[in-house]
């Protein structure tokens, strides 16, 4: 028999529903896989085997009683440790939230439990989701299960959803939640040969998700293929009155409508993404993706998104500005860490607590954000960035008058070695060059595995759709998935 952990989300749910195996057997198999791998990969900050087993027992009992089963019945998943989980420590991978145990459940995680999923544990991430390599976590680096051919150097799983990507790629979770502010679902998915989708801004509730940059933060699904992502996103999405920016729209049945027949659809190839000195393997993978989409019946045209080069600098004003405001709440009074030096007054306590609790990258971004919002600089930086953001969104609106979906590479390279880029913040920021524009415009976007580069490491292709049109993104993703026939997986070394 196939190992249960080799099965994806839909296969597990259907197997449980058909009685091929029980949800309890599935939870036991994944709990064992997590226990075996986590020492080496450090993908989880805390594991919750009892939660997974309890959810499985409820599913098995429901099936025995003949009750209808949810979309994710019997599927064990990991939650990025940015989602508040009632009674289970939630840290955002920061010391400042050390020991924080939420008395409430995030809307997205509640929906997943209601659909029958079980919690294997809370997944590691870049601290407050600020990073592209999972090296800013206060709980240590996540190690990618992937290694280059003949090279045992430890590689980055991408970030910020690096625990999620590593765990899905290592097959120790059936699927995982991620959050994406500037590429934090798509870049790690590309680095680890998995599929990840960020829906239109507002599809998934932000309620109970630790805030980084509220106008950009959006939860999404990370799984082994496009169909699994579609089903998981259906379970996560939906209107939530507790989130002021939640979209009051019905959640489509994306899986039922999935089709890789792209006849009559037009794919745009933005010329500004063909950067000088673009990695040869990445460029070749992009060309291959164009050929695959043509094979699926699509018409492919060149388009222009003229303000692309300004997206990253605009993002690195807007996201830190929002972060500096959101993270003002960590003051050592209501929850988390408190550092109270002898004789300190209240202001000293705030400053000492925040100095001790935040990591270097978080402090750097809070300070940049504080600076660009400060008197005398606000218009030059923040207002200017929001105007440029409007132009970036307008570029997309104009392009989508002629095309249905846009194809680009997900990241400028395959996974780099841990430590290789952590000395220079700007070099790390450039990892998000292809993913940030869609974030600034709130558009749905996904990464699909396209193949391996010459070092034997995965590369991803990136699809960007119109607002609310996750379906076309998923369809084009499926067209690539079927033609790429990506079956490579990391050799088990843990």
């Amino acid at each position: 028999m196939t190992e249960l952990t080799d099965l994806g989300l839909v296969a597990l749910r259907d197997g449980v529903a058909h009685g091929d195996f029980t949800a309890t057997e599935v939870a036991g198999a994944f709990n064992a896989a997590v226990a075996e791998a986590n020492g080496a990969l450090n993908a989880f900050i805390v594991t919750t085997p009892d939660h997974a087993l309890a959810a499985a027992a409820r599913v098995d009992a429901a099936r025995a009683a003949g009750e209808p089963l949810g979309k994710l019945a019997g599927v064990p998943i990991g939650m990025k440790d940015l989602f508040a989980t009632k009674g289970v420590q939630t840290t955002a991978a920061s010391k400042i939230l050390g020991g924080f145990v939420p008395p409430y459940e995030s809307s997205v995680s509640q929906k997943l439990w209601d659909a029958g999923a079980g919690l294997l544990g809370k997944l590691n991430l870049d601290q407050f989701a600020m990073g592209s390599s999972n090296e800013t976590s206060a709980f240590g680096n996540v190690i990618s299960p992937w290694r280059a051919t003949g090279d045992a150097a430890l590689r980055a799983p991408g970030g910020s959803s690096g625990g999620s990507s590593a765990a899905v790629a290592a097959r120790i979770v059936a699927a995982a939640t991620g959050t994406d502010t500037g590429g934090s679902i798509r870049q790690p998915a590309a680095f680890t040969g998995i599929t990840g989708i960020k829906p239109t801004y507002g599809r998934c509730s932000r309620w109970g998700v630790v805030a980084f940059a509220s106008s950009l933060d959006q939860a999404g699904a990370m799984a082994r293929d496009v169909t699994d992502c579609a089903v998981m996103l259906e379970a996560m999405a939906g209107f939530d009155p507790k989130d002021a920016t939640s979209l009051d729209l019905p959640v489509p049945d994306w899986r039922a409508a999935l089709s890789d027949d792209l006849r009559g659809r037009t794919v745009g190839i933005p010329r500004e993404y063909r950067l000088d000195g673009l990695n040869g393997d990445v460029a070749a993978s992009w060309d291959q993706g164009i050929a695959w989409l043509k094979d699926a019946g699509a018409r492919v045209v060149d388009i222009s998104l003229p303000h692309t080069r300004y997206a990253l600098p605009a993002y690195y004003i807007i996201a830190p500005a929002e972060a500096s405001s959101n993270l003002a709440r960590y003051d050592g009074v209501r929850y988390g860490l408190r550092d109270l030096p002898p004789g300190a007054n209240l202001q000293d306590m705030y400053a000492a607590t925040r100095a001790a609790g935040f990591g270097p990258e978080v402090k750097r971004r809070i300070m940049i954000g504080t600076y660009v919002l400060s008197a005398g600089f606000y218009d030059a930086y923040y207002t200017q960035a929001q105007k440029v953001r409007a132009l970036i969104a307008r570029d997309f609106t104009q392009a989508f008058q002629d095309v249905d979906v846009i194809l680009t590479p997900t990241a400028p390279s395959s996974a780099f070695v841990l430590g290789e880029k952590s000395a220079d913040p700007l070099e790390m920021y450039l990892n998000d060059v292809f993913s940030v524009p869609a974030s600034l415009a709130g558009l749905p976007a996904m990464s699909v595995p396209a193949g391996l580069d010459r070092a034997g490491l995965p590369l991803g292709l990136h699809l960007i759709g119109r607002p609310f049109d996750e379906q076309t993104v998923l369809d084009a993703g499926l067209a690539i998935e079927r033609r790429a026939a990506f079956v490579a997986r990391p050799a088990k070394w843990w």
Partner: protein
């Protein structure tokens, strides 16, 4: 625009983050590198462009004006609110003395 050590000290004070001299010395070139890079936004012609206020047009809603409509925020859960506090005393958040 560039920042000097005094500017970094002022920003850190505004952000309520304690930094010592050596941290300031390290932050000055880092922040200047980032600021020099974002300065390229200044070359974009934004004449007549309104700053973005929402990525997806949405209507702001009002909730029903009912006390306790949401049991999580409706009150009467003092102990749950205080449960994660580093110093909860007598049903209040404890802080260092603020009155001289």
């Amino acid at each position: 625009m560039t920042v000097a050590p005094a500017d970094v000290a002022r920003i850190a004070a505004l952000a309520r983050i304690k930094v010592d001299e050596s941290e300031i010395a390290a932050l000055v070139p880092e922040l200047n590198g980032i600021l020099a890079w974002v300065d390229q936004l200044g070359e974009v012609d934004v004449t007549g462009v309104a700053p973005m206020t929402a990525v997806i047009a949405n209507q702001l809603r009002l909730r029903a004006d009912v006390v306790g409509a949401d049991p999580l925020t409706g009150g009467g859960i003092r102990d749950a609110v205080l449960a994660n506090a580093p110093a909860a005393e007598h049903g209040f958040f404890g802080v260092p003395k603020v009155i001289e």
